[in-house]
Subunit: 180 residues, 2 copies
Amino acid sequence: MSECRATVQCVMLADDPATFVTRMVADIRVEIGGIPGDRHFGLLRPADSRQKIYPRGALIANRRQISIVSQEECELIAIHLGIPEIKPEWLGANIMISGLEKLTELPQGTRLIFPDGTGLICEGENLPCIGPGRVIETICNQSGLSHKFVPAAKKMRGIVCSIEREGCISRGDIIRIIGV
Amino acid sequence: MSECRATVQCVMLADDPATFVTRMVADIRVEIGGIPGDRHFGLLRPADSRQKIYPRGALIANRRQISIVSQEECELIAIHLGIPEIKPEWLGANIMISGLEKLTELPQGTRLIFPDGTGLICEGENLPCIGPGRVIETICNQSGLSHKFVPAAKKMRGIVCSIEREGCISRGDIIRIIGV
């Protein structure tokens, strides 16, 4: 098993029902259903266009409980879009890490272990959709950005994870990333 | 996405607290926590020697909710052991399928979809341990079989699955097996 490390730069919560945009908090508690209070919390969620093997809306196991992006990949997306920065909140991220090359390419099944023993399972790439592009276009007040986001963010938009072991995740945590 | 098919030969339940050995039933209901009444039911389970990244006994997400074996692989294990048959109940299996080559080698993330829409996620090979070997040794009344089981069953002892979509699984069901 390969092992490398990364640092938690910030943690965020999507607790405004009106938007997927997150806001920074000091730490997040994770339970088997996800992050309590976050819009993606739940053991089940309705299948969407990503799960074509199920009818749209069918309740399926929620393996998209937590979204993680990397500072380095956000910087690259910003360069591709020709804007000064991409804030992780605009992508609806719950965790931004740094110090890991190619977070988005982590294989499904990779484990992320936090200092208190909290464990996440990488469920694979978070495929970019137009939602964050629209947020970026509005905030940067630059038309056309929304449609540029999806190609610019491909393989750089981070990963989704499910919870394997409950606990707490805080800014500054060093994560052990353990390969399959 | 590749797709192939297999047939459910029988379904089984481990509802005797004294043993992991299963017994045949007409059908099994599966919920997000597994098969109600089965010894492996639960959203969480204690980490064991397979999950060395967690302290033994720590509660982690249960992705070993259902055990599936194949008739063809059971026949091969029996040949390796020099006995007439291996019954799926002796391995603690919940489902025995037929018509699929190399069930045990199905990649993690493969989906198994049943006629009513029930969905399972393949979580990978069920690594053989000595328990079923002891059962086989006792039933066949042939000493030494227990230690032969682990090497004889390697890459043929089937897979473990978690539930993605709740429903019912019955003998005779045709399963769609959808590759990652």
